[in-house]
Assembly symmetry: C2
């Protein structure tokens, strides 16, 4: 189980993602299970899995398969799958890795539809193990069996109609409404231990192991349909799906009947630096890709295992707030201030109370109490004062949720106070989150809260953070979906340019071809001509007005260094002279280069310089980048990312997420810029990236964004083609 | 105890900060205590405090004072302090607030040297209570008594020679090496509860309440001398000391025998926006002031109560790492990756192992284990494998500390593994921090770790963060102290300029006077002259070379808007014409303004624009600001702060902490700038702020920083004087 030794995937387009809920039913709701490798030897995994199923109260029939034993734990055993007299839907394999492909074949012959392979010794151990895993995968594919694992802890389903614990976990999962998907088996054992102590219940508990077949996407789809599951927790080391993951999961997290998903992604710093020639490539690490993926899919990313628990408890047990106006009720000033600090920092705010609320608080609380928000019922408060205050603030139309803080002081009625919260919370339909501070004195109160589905945290800051997470998710599910409007594109023209270049063995495309491609997708490209003589150069300036000249040569990528760039050429005479000079200078500097001519392009009006870029991740496909030009990108790394395709919201996100955004919207007396047209350019960029997988990298640097209503101009661009890109094209 | 109602301080320069360790001994190590208001009534505070002292095993003599009872809990009671037949050093008062001044007088008459006033009803309740507090304070001052409180939970000293629990806490503090100072009494009760569960021991436990006399500074000084105290934890809502706090505490946290201090400061978002006319003022919130204060004093600021515990446990029990090279030992890949992520993010790095270490690991661990860092002993590891791996990595000269992770798997020997860690850690002299994941299965192991002073955290991320905190502190105590070099100043000249302006009723000073002030402190001010006629303007340009002209008028602050700024005036003829034009234009625009003339100043060579500023906090005194000009300050708020006075390190910190620092050190092919001279300018700014408290605000905007070796130039400045500034001047 050395999980940190990662070998290359052998099926990045794995069909496991397509496992349907009906197919997965063989794994989660089997009628009959064969446990191949079941054992009576104490401490063995075969014993552990078998007894977990048997004593876990499985509602179907269990058949141990063991070469030598007549029975195991009193249950009649069979020497092989074939010997079992009845049909079997699920086989759990706990046999040496090398034996699993043959065993999978036997299972298929028996009519088994689902496999859980607990055994280790596959891809995680090196090339030989990877070969066995590939064979196992092939058998499953050929026979239409679905597979969880190999190298996993197993699967738990607490549904009272099923009661399946097909795992070797030391602890049981309590029934509940949280589903957990984990890529680390070791973490599963720790999670069950934490959960037991915090009274957290699970609907399903799935250790996915090496994900040779079934992966996160299929499981998320299944769990979304599962009536027991209210929230999904994931521990992820790597995902293998790009746009189809986003498209499916965003409907699940943000559709009509949303299921929130919380994920922790580890291995953040493990990814080595990538060699990349473009700005976009050098700034786009795997962290940026995963952040984009989670954001676009509406998955709430957390940073630590502790947060995963903290937020799952809130999402699984409380309604979402309709807004960010929070009331705090406390019996101590200090903790109230702590909660207020976090409340404000996380985008929540303190609700301003209605007059009736203030009047109610004044009538119920002593004069020394603080009846403004945060409400301080003060240290000698008994249950009644807490109850009256909570009732008053929950009834307030300005209050979207309540953070309830208790410190154990001498007069405090810990249990009685805990008992009044759940009913008041439920009746109000608003989220209430509690912090009873301490670990020992308050514990009877905490048990009452947890048993009654009031999320509880030892520290008021954590309670405030959990409330903020609920609010953030409520904003995701209620977000607007603005229309992008029609953006006509000319695909065949781009295809011709790309094919011509690739046929000539050219991978770097400069401005001439780059601009043709961009123009075909509606980008505001400046008028330009290729001049192959001084006379043509003069004619170009006569026709286009003041121009920039850039040398055109297949051998020259860095034109400035070669002396091949001049700007501000205003007259035909200047144009002719500049042409001759430039060609002579470049010829002297680069005698190796064949000079095609000079690219004469109309000078752009001034504008705010921004960079638009495409980079391609080998798993997730095209990544879009946006940033302000110059120091903002190069020194401050102030850039934003999304995976393509994006919609209007995605384009807006790209623009809104950079810190220097005020530069576009009118900071320091600067004019507001044409952000509308900028967003359309980002949508065009997305379409280009999706339609033409051969575009490996693209930098538009800079794009000038003119004043509001005045559009944008592409001032320079560079493309890198890669004919080897075989990523599947997403649907239109 | 409505602690969030804060009334104004009545003694910002309180003498409580000067309480000497000898004076505080009356409170922490009394021989005889009188408990005034001791009571036999169950549930009363008087009963609670008295029985805590009595049953806490106090090593001296206790005298209950009660008007009616003959004895309390079997101890002979007295009707008044005067009646007690023996000397008393400490009196604990639990009587109505209004009675405390008289009682304090009685105590003084009895020869009492220390008071703990538990009672509430003082400043926290409003003006009437504040008046009582002031009277109590006065009595103490007059009679040389030291006072803790009022409105506090009390004081605990676990020293076995004293064993004093003069508090009404529900729980006792275990003896240990952490001192806790809290401004919230309610938080004290919660902290004792958490600590009991985590086996945390305290040396002293002090609820400071309203801090009418003794505050944090005196306590920190006392605790630094206390042999029982190894680390100080503080919960702070407000501090009342500025530079003297920094100067004293930096020696305590970073001197020869350092005591680490961890602090949480709440009320971060409570401070309202300040109206301020300068850049510095508008950017300097109370958060920035406290951050500067803590950083300069070497106090480790944490964000949550949980972090306060987490780090105190590490600081109190482990040595500091000599460097940032960490080894991780784990039995599961996932948690190892999580710890690695946090390790890298927090400035630590994974140690590259020596060859002997790799060889030792290879010989002790199975083939499937990972012998590179993070070391994975894999899931079936028993105690011996863990022991051998830990021993090997601790012996490695490249390893500065170890993070030890255990997940409870079927073969794991939890207790045996816990038992081998402490000795190996101690022998190595390196810090070892553990995470045994889970809450139930691992708890016997956790108890062994805690009993043997190995810091333990449920989550590996927290363990990594605690190690990073130790490393960060080790950098503070080993930091260098570069010399600033001599920076001559002409104080009397500045004093004359300020006094002249104030005598004329002028508070805003423009460039002419501002430059004189700056020049007197050695700032690189550009040569300039005041021209009061076209002829003088021409002469100025003839003498100085190309100039900028700015109108001089006491009525005009915004010169550009009035048409009173022109740059690049190169010839005497242009100068004369510009003078006439400018005066005419300003006269037309601002007929109300009296025009003194035109300030002709040599144009600065180009350079990177930076802003230097002074703002003044009413408690903490002068605050220095630094940032890059333009968008960096106005849009990105990329600025840094320090409280004056600063030394060379402080100047360097100001420059190094801005995100745009690469702009000064040669980003994007820009030349490196004269950061040395910039740092000297910041030291001059500090001297100016300290020497002249009448300077309420100062912006140097911009200062041009030229290329390395070429110095800086002040291009513009503005001052605001405030004659009412009565902050005490710090010593030279």
């Amino acid at each position: 189980m050395a999980e940190n030794v990662i070998h290359p995937l052998f099926d990045p387009c794995d069909r496991g993602k397509t496992a349907s809920p009906a197919e997965l039913a063989a794994i989660f709701r089997p009628s009959a299970i064969a446990v191949v490798g079941a054992s009576g030897r104490p401490g063995s995994v075969g014993q552990s899995v078998f007894s977990n199923i048997l004593y876990g109260g499985f509602a179907g029939t269990i058949y141990p398969v063991n070469l030598t034993a007549h029975s195991i734990n009193g249950v009649r055993a069979y020497r092989s799958l074939a010997e079992i007299p009845d049909p079997v839907d699920l086989a759990v394999l706990i046999v040496p890795a090398a034996a699993t492909p043959a065993m999978a074949r036997e299972a298929a012959a028996k009519g088994v539809k689902g496999l859980i392979v607990i055994s280790a010794g596959f891809r995680e151990t090196g090339p030989a193990g990877a070969e066995i895993e590939r064979e196992l995968q092939t058998v499953c594919h050929e026979h239409g069996m679905r597979l969880i694992g190999p190298n996993c802890l197993g699967v738990i389903n607490t549904d009272p109609e099923v009661r399946l614990n097909a795992s070797f976990a030391r602890r049981r999962a309590l029934p509940g409404h949280i589903a957990f998907i984990s890529q680390s088996g070791a973490l599963c054992t720790a999670v069950l231990d934490f959960a037991a102590k915090r009274n957290m219940g699970f609907s399903k508990f799935i250790s996915v192991g090496n994900k040779a077949d079934v992966g996160e996407l299929a499981l998320i789809r299944y769990l979304h349909e599962d009536p027991q599951t209210r929230v999904i927790m994931m521990y992820v080391e790597e995902l293998r799906h790009g746009f189809e993951f986003i498209e499916t999961v965003r409907e699940i997290t943000g559709g009509d009947r949303p299921t929130p998903i919380l994920a922790i992604k580890s291995g953040r710093t493990a990814a080595g630096a990538k060699a990349a020639s473009s700005h976009t490539g050098s700034l786009a690490g795997s962290e940026e890709v995963y952040n984009a993926l989670f954001q676009q899919a509406g998955i709430f990313r957390v940073q630590t295992i502790e947060e995963l628990f903290d937020y799952a408890i809130a999402f699984g047990n409380q309604p979402l707030p309709r807004g960010n106006r929070i009331a705090i009720v406390t019996n101590a000033g200090g903790p109230g201030i702590m909660a207020t600090d976090v409340t404000i920092q996380t985008g929540l705010r303190l609700a301003p109370f209605e007059e009736t609320t203030t009047a109610a608080l004044r009538s119920h609380l002593p004069a020394a109490a603080n009846i403004a928000n945060p409400v301080d019922v003060i240290g000698d408060a008994r249950m009644d004062r807490y109850r009256d205050a909570l009732e008053a603030v929950l009834a307030d139309g300005n209050v979207d949720g309540v953070i309830f803080i208790l410190t154990p002081q001498s007069m405090t009625e810990i249990e009685a106070t805990a008992r009044v919260i759940p009913d008041l919370a439920r009746q109000s339909g608003k989220p209430v989150i509690a912090s009873f501070m301490g670990l020992m004195d308050v514990s009877p109160g905490v048990e009452i809260l947890e048993a009654n589905r009031i999320p509880h945290y030892h520290f008021p800051e954590t309670a405030a953070r959990a409330m903020a997470a609920l609010y953030q998710y409520s904003r995701w599910i209620t977000r607007e979906h603005p229309e992008a409007g029609p953006l006509p594109v000319d695909r065949p023209r781009v295809r011709r340019v790309i094919e011509t270049a690739l046929a000539a063995g050219r991978h770097y495309l400069g401005e001439a071809e780059g601009n043709e491609i961009l123009a075909a997708y509606g980008f505001p490209v400046l008028p330009a001509r290729l001049a192959t003589s001084a006379a043509e150069a003069a004619a170009a300036v006569a026709a286009l007005g003041t121009c920039a000249f850039k040398i055109v040569s297949p051998q020259i990528v860095h034109k400035t260094e070669a002396g091949g760039v001049r700007t501000g050429i205003a007259t035909p005479e200047e144009a002719a002279a500049t042409y001759e000079e430039m060609v002579a200078r470049v010829r002297a500097n680069r005698p190796d280069a064949a000079i095609t001519g000079v690219y004469a392009q109309q000078m752009a009006r001034s504008g705010m310089e921004v960079i638009l870029g495409i980079n391609r991740d080998k798993v997730f496909g095209p990544l879009l980048m946006f940033g302000l030009g110059g120091i903002f990108v190069e020194v401050l790394k102030d850039v934003s990312f999304r995976l393509a395709p994006i919609r209007r919201n995605g384009a807006r996100f790209l623009v809104d997420s950079i810190k220097a955004r005020p530069m576009l919207t009118g900071a320091r007396g600067l004019p507001p810029r044409d952000v509308d047209e900028l967003e359309r350019c980002l949508l065009r960029l997305s379409a280009l990236a999706v339609d033409h997988p051969e575009i490996a990298e693209l930098d538009i640097n800079p794009l000038f964004v003119h004043e509001a209503g005045a559009g944008c101009s592409v001032a320079d661009c560079r493309l890198l083609l890669d004919p080897g890109r075989a990523c599947p094209k997403p649907p239109d």
